[in-house]
Symmetry: C2
Subunit: 203 residues, 2 copies
DNA sequence: CCGGGAACTGCGAGCTACTCTCAGTTGACC
DNA sequence: GGTCAACTGAGAGTAGCTCGCAGTTCCCGG
């Protein structure tokens, strides 16, 4: 995510921070379930998680990011970059979005992911923050594609292709949520990408 | 936009309100130009426009909407609905987005539109609000399409098609802005929709 | 093993976007 | 022209978010 990943073995400091962040996120979601997102203040989250409000802002930046934050993004970008050597961009992205992401997500805790996504879809402010994040991801994505294929990273075509794919991915998540998480996310994502890839024959 | 449009000849009340909104928007943009979006408070806008802060919130809801608000949205939906009787959804949307919208927009004041779009693209919070608006438009859009074609309004395919088209449209605006408004918006929008319609042959 | 410096934490004060309520006013309609 | 609904402005209050400061904890070179 635009930011330089310090490629040094994580020390005690960083491990403590990550642990604290996961704990805060856990506690926050429990509070949201009880009282609703809007009625839980940062202050209460801080009290319940036994940290100071300042720390929550330092960790997450905004209240929305307490829900949205996770550790997948750099993993996904890396996986995409790797596959780009052997495959064309679309196939690589399909693979990453359908396989890598979903399996990486589910490794941790599928139920937890569903809870987070429910809030992300139902709370407009969180949804907006997610769009914003997606925009940044889209920029990284097309830079990476441009690097590997020599295409113009700022050309209209590449830009449109990228945002369309990201939008399809996000809509797949929305669909997953609205159908009560009935079908596997992988299948829905695959279906959504199919629609984009084959072009629009709707009538 | 989801809301019931009162189809009654606009009285003095409504005309005054619209006039006031346009005036506030004008004044606000001037202040933004001078001091930057973040440094202009609602209070200063209110003082400068000679209304109360309460009124600005009643009119626009949020600070971002002072920039984003305009009168095109219902016009666009109506135009789309009309064309849908004679054409397939994609062509109708192409027509509306490329012709109707751009001409309707330019009728008023192209320079003013550019200034608004500059803030919409450069201020992250405004951009997020714009995504949110686009989401709502997408819902209206696919409901309208479903009504005319009998397709499932909540099916994955229609959903993905719609958000992809909207995303392409927004990216066209972003591209227009980043290239210094060099080429006509119509052409860029047309190009963006082409990319989506023909499907993804990038490699 | 340790000492200096960097990074992180908690605290407090402060700003402003946004909400709600209430009293007063203005336009709509008969 | 009078009544009622809708709109306006004022004021108080909430909470997200920022900033600067003092104290603490970890990192790292010697």
């Amino acid at each position: 995510m635009t930011e330089q990943t310090t490629q040094r073995p994580p020390g005690l400091r960083e491990r403590k921070k990550l642990k604290a962040m996961r704990h805060i996120q856990q506690v926050a979601l429990d509070l949201f379930d009880r009282d609703g997102y809007a009625h839980v203040t940062i202050e209460r989250m801080a009290a319940e998680a036994e940290v100071s409000p300042s720390s929550i802002y330092r960790y997450f930046g905004t209240k929305e990011m307490v829900v949205l934050w996770d550790e997948y993004d750099p993993i996904m970008l890396q996986a995409f970059d790797d596959r780009l050597r052997a495959k064309d961009p679309i196939s690589a992205l399909r693979d990453v979005l359908t396989e890598v992401v979903t399996t990486a997500m589910f490794e941790q805790d599928e139920e937890f992911l569903r809870r987070r996504m429910s809030y992300a879809m139902e709370e407009p402010s969180i949804r907006a923050a997610m769009s914003r994040q997606a925009d940044e991801t889209a920029v990284d994505l097309r830079r990476t594609i441009a690097k590997h294929t020599g295409r113009d990273p700022d050309g209209l075509e590449l830009r449109v292709v990228t945002v369309a794919l990201i939008a399809a991915f996000m809509e797949a998540i929305a669909y997953w949520h609205e159908t009560g998480f009935r079908d596997p996310l992988q299948d829905i994502v695959a279906g959504a990408l199919d629609v984009i890839e084959r072009g629009l024959r709707v009538s």
